[in-house]
Symmetry: D2
Subunit: 188 residues, 4 copies
């Protein structure tokens, strides 16, 4: 048993907006993590070009490779993302499309957790199952429960300080992080 | 009844690669269309920036608005796309994410047909149902049948001349175009 | 234009429980329907055997054929159903599996609307998209909007009188019925 | 490491037809299993009543409880099923709906693999992702790869002897069973 093994987790953010609700959640994660678990936000995916096999033929962009390395070296990945049009944001899917082309595909066998937030009541649920289908192909090992779908997120953050204030949401997320750490230690 | 009403259809291509198999299919469509149906390929979606609400706040990019106009003015839209990682290509989803923000959302009430092609046997089926879920939100009226999922597409095109040569595939696609024209005339 | 054509709609209920929240909603529909629209609840699907091609080979059960006739003769169908285990209830899917084998498949070209209700906040959304995927194969013409997903349904009904009391929910549903009637008159 | 731990796997069959292609595949599994892995076909799910909370209130049927025990005691489960109408067969979903109500839900934390077969080229892929979504709720740990989707299954079996004869298919399936055994030993 290695239940106290320290874990390094990276967060992949699916929104580019500076004041993004999902960014606020991603920024809250380090504080909500269990002991011995570090959580680091990856750089923006907004600098990736659109995936194009002709561009790939010239060479995979350095920012893709570098972020792929960071994912590969992490013990687990958390994807924090809004839902756009009942599915994965294009910009996030584009990042995944690039990662999937890396020589050592970084999601293969990687423990992964999903968090979505939206202003509606459904909290991004529709995006989660599309993401899970994509992650079957990438061979990530995705945590089932608890699912984090933050509905009415605008009422749960402080838009001035850009902090996640809602106590219940903080508790739900902390619960997922604890379950995810245990999951990584079991299957990772 | 207006069964002989001439129809203008536009094609939205989900791949950027110059030699893309899906581009070859998109290019074949005008020849396969029924009488009185014109089919025009829209410009590339590769020039759109990644969707970002901060960019939107400054102003929706002109290329998005222009393409949105072309979709709005068409009698129907055909999406021709590969499947990436068991879902919609990020670059195509990104274009849709932009279109969804236009003041008069151009897919609303618009008849739409889907064609996918891939090198595997499944022919992009997984991407089609994700696309359909997105199109529920956009309120497009999507043709059910016949579904066009071209498997092993590399064996059905001439990679030198970039033409769709397989007679059966041409026939299936022509059949969908005929069904789509009738569908537009009924529901459009 | 035939905007005042009277319409006959039938409701297919996905739950067997006598006190089912979805049954309460189904029972509320006739009162919420627009003028000139009658809505009739179909008999229970609980009497259908499990679909089995060996049983089909002997003969499609009479209750399947009879209900298939009622669907075929209706101007539109409303499916009202709970979500079980993030998908369509088995009993409802079984009924659909039977209907799909009828000589004149009754959903082909049939306008259809979906309503789901659940005790959780998500209101059965996950079941709706699975149902929509099935209905692509059956070639139903499914209304996109408004989607009816009644969350926390236990707070919106009177469990003693088995009536739908929540005014907002009644209004949302009446809005869908009005949109559905217009949709039938346009595409049916 | 317990890589040589003997494993007991049970197979859940989604079709009732006696001559079912999926039954032929399920029957082939014991022969294709790696050393130290036993694979046993569970009894038919055709004897389960339709799920009905009123029936559940009287008592969960004995055949459900007994099969739930067998699943709980197994090291892993393989679901072998056709696709009906682009989704899970109703009869299989119904069995799952019952299992989900057992006091100790038998799929929780259980390693699980999926195999589908169909007469078309797509081999049941659409049913697999619906099943995976349901299994998120049930908290099964589902093998990602290799996916077994047997297309044109009628050409791969001997319909007289009811045996799986196609060498490639046998090899693919044996490969999944080997991957599944390793997966169980890692995550189970």
């Amino acid at each position: 048993m290695t239940s106290s093994r320290p874990l390094k987790i990276v967060t992949l953010l699916g929104s580019l907006r500076q004041g993004s609700y999902n960014r606020i959640i991603a920024n809250a994660l380090p504080d909500l993590a269990p002991a011995d678990v570090s959580i680091t936000l990856l750089p923006t995916i907004g600098t990736f070009p659109h995936y194009d096999a002709d561009v790939q033929a010239i060479g995979i962009p350095a920012e893709v490779s570098t972020m792929g390395d960071a994912i590969r070296e992490a013990d687990g990945v958390i994807i924090v993302t809004p839902e756009y049009n009942y599915s994965i944001p294009g910009v996030l899917k584009n990042a995944i499309d690039w990662f999937s082309r890396l020589p050592q595909q970084p999601f293969a066998g990687k423990p992964l957790a999903i968090q979505t937030a939206s202003m509606g009541v459904i909290g991004g649920a529709r995006a989660q199952y599309h993401l899970r289908q994509t992650l079957v192909f990438l061979d990530a090992i995705v945590l089932n429960k608890p699912e984090i779908m933050v509905g009415a997120v605008q009422n749960k953050v402080n838009a001035d300080t850009l902090t996640l204030e809602d106590a219940d949401t903080r508790k739900f997320i902390a619960g997922q992080l604890e379950a995810f750490a245990a999951f990584i230690r079991r299957v990772g």
